[in-house]
């Protein structure tokens, strides 16, 4: 583990390269373009021989379709985008979800909806966690709070994508991607060893073909298939719901926050503790599956929950659902990404 001063965009790219990423297909969109530019400059880096395909696509629609191809062929592929681009990728993600095709998308959340701003927000939460794509499509969503964790979650994201054959989104924001932090660079290992048996790349003596379809001619077939996808999601929810509960044991006030907001909340916790109020922080790391079970264990203790997020109150709904109607849950919406100390304390 070496300590390095890394910019978020480069750290994410580096983590992907260390994880054995083979293809990057992207499109410029603020505030994610730096990730693509880093990956463009990394072509031919002898440290990462697996990385051999970079394409700046003609749109996010084309980019996600290329991800589908590379993922279907059993290879690690990724992109980075922001809200408007992610909206365009929703169709491809829906197809990939049902065809069980893995790839990684980094969503660098900007102000939204529409063109919004190029400033950070956390307003893509509902989109990526509830239904990323039509028909009940989903993805696993991971939310790092800083540069170091972003690296670790990129690696974990690729692992989860291929273990469960599902698209994975890293939900981050312009602050994490643009800031520089000194991080202990984690030792990340390549995620894949050889080509998976389900890969679509030609039968090559296998005998039977691999067919990844997204359409069904029969409702019963669809029903059975989706029952399988639901079972898979239940397994994911049971095994892969990650969170961090900081000083929760004796807390009377618990902030619930993810990503960069969690660092602001951590400040608030420190300040309250300094003033003698036992405060804590519950930080979901997977936003989907949401760690509801862990949150629900904090019920019945008279804790005041304060949900802080840079949107109008999206994760608040998941927190409320996990805790039930009787707990004291307050929402602090920080739309436009504007946070003031008075709002927080």
């Amino acid at each position: 583990m070496t300590a390095e001063l890394l910019r978020g965009a480069e750290a994410i790219g580096l983590a992907a390269l260390m994880s054995g990423v083979e293809a990057y297909f992207g499109y410029p969109i603020t505030p994610s373009s730096e990730i693509m530019e880093f990956m463009a400059s990394e072509q031919g880096d002898p440290r990462f021989p697996r990385y051999r395909a970079f394409v700046q696509a003609s749109s996010e629609v084309e980019a996600v379709s290329m991800l589908m191809g590379a993922g279907a062929a059993g290879h690690l592929a990724m992109t980075a985008t922001s809200g408007p681009g992610l909206s365009l990728m929703a169709e491809g993600i829906s197809h990939a979800y049902v065809a069980e095709i893995p790839f990684l998308i980094v969503d660098v959340n900007r102000g939204g909806p529409g063109l919004g701003t190029t400033e950070p927000e956390q307003s893509d939460y509902l989109f990526v966690t509830r239904s990323l794509g039509h028909g009940g499509s989903r993805a696993i969503v991971l939310a790092p709070e800083g540069v170091g964790e972003a690296m670790e979650l990129v690696n974990r994201g690729f692992r989860l994508a291929f273990e469960y054959r599902i698209p994975v989104v890293i939900l981050t924001d312009a602050i994490v991607v643009h800031m520089r932090e000194t991080v202990d660079v984690p030792e990340l290992r390549p995620v894949l060893d050889g080509v998976p048996p389900w890969a679509v790349r030609g039968k090559r003596g296998r005998g039977t073909r691999n067919a990844l379809t997204t359409g069904f001619l029969d409702s019963r077939e669809l029903k059975e298939f989706k029952e399988g996808l639901e079972r898979k999601w239940r397994r994911i929810s049971e095994r892969e719901a990650y969170y961090e509960c900081h000083m929760c044991d004796d807390a009377e006030v618990i902030y619930v926050a993810f990503g960069i907001s969690a660092r602001v909340a951590a400040e608030a916790v420190r300040e309250l503790r300094g003033r003698g109020t036992p405060a804590g922080l519950f930080r979901p790391i997977t936003l989907a599956p949401f760690p509801s079970g862990a949150l629900a264990r904090l019920r019945g203790r008279g804790i005041r929950f304060v949900v802080m997020e840079m949107n109008e109150g999206q994760m608040y709904r998941d927190v409320r659902e996990a805790l039930g109607p009787d707990e004291d849950v307050e929402s602090i919406p920080m739309m436009g990404g504007i946070v003031t100390r008075s709002e927080v304390s």
Binding site: E22, A23, F25, R52, A53, V55, A57, S58, S59, V61, E62, S65, M66, L67, M68, G69, A70, G71, A72, A73, H75, A77, E91, G92, H95, A99, I101, V200, R201, G202, K203, R204, G205, R209, N210, A211, L212, T213, T214, G215
Partner: protein
Amino acid sequence: MGAEVRQAKRIGLLYDGRASTFCPGCEHGLLLKLIARALEELGVADRAVMVGTVGCSSLGYLLFDSDFVQAPHGRAPAVMAGIKLVEPDAVVFAIQGDGDALSIGLQELLYAADRGIPMTIFMYNNMTFGMTGGQMAPTTIPGMRTTTTPRGRDVKLSGSPIDACRLLSAIDGPAYLRRAILAPRPLRVKGKIFYSAREALEAYRIVLNAFRAQLKGGFSFVEFVGTCNVNWRMGIDESKAFVHEVGAKYFPPGLCRDIYGLEGGGKV
């Protein structure tokens, strides 16, 4: 070429016994058969990857015993690019309808052509959106009645048919661009209709060339003009005549580009 091409061999890539879902007389099945035969003839059947499209063409995967992945409507060229960049030995192909290729998928097609990543695209041009019931398509002919042009396509409102070969000729990337009539020409002799295997055999040679172009590292695109007698509300023979007498005027057969000289010519 003559004797071996004409040999009527069993084709392994087509599942035994499975009937297609294509309408009687539709040339989709013919195209699929020629593709299967060509891949076997070139010895690359085991490396073939069919990328599914949306439209009647997409139903081919039910019959075709190769690795397969479905693409969203219009996106097959991009999905194929993704596969080819990580698996360069795979022989990737797609059968797109005129709607899939020139309507929703036009951008993906143009950029795949522009990059020239080796792949093979067959566009089955039947001047309509067949699977969804016969709506106007980018290649619908002026005056043609469809479900969304019930009084005939009006160029002032809906534009003119798009010439895919000409459009792609403006891009440097492709190695092989070809258009041909896939429907057999009906010949009326003494009140009886006769057909010949001429179109099918010429199409077979073109399909072989299209794959050869990919194997040489080039992007190949072939437009096959075929029938949709059901949505055109015509009988089988009438629909074949329509393609040759009317369709061929808007989509004349010809070689638009041949960088490798596969048709014995050289760059056109």
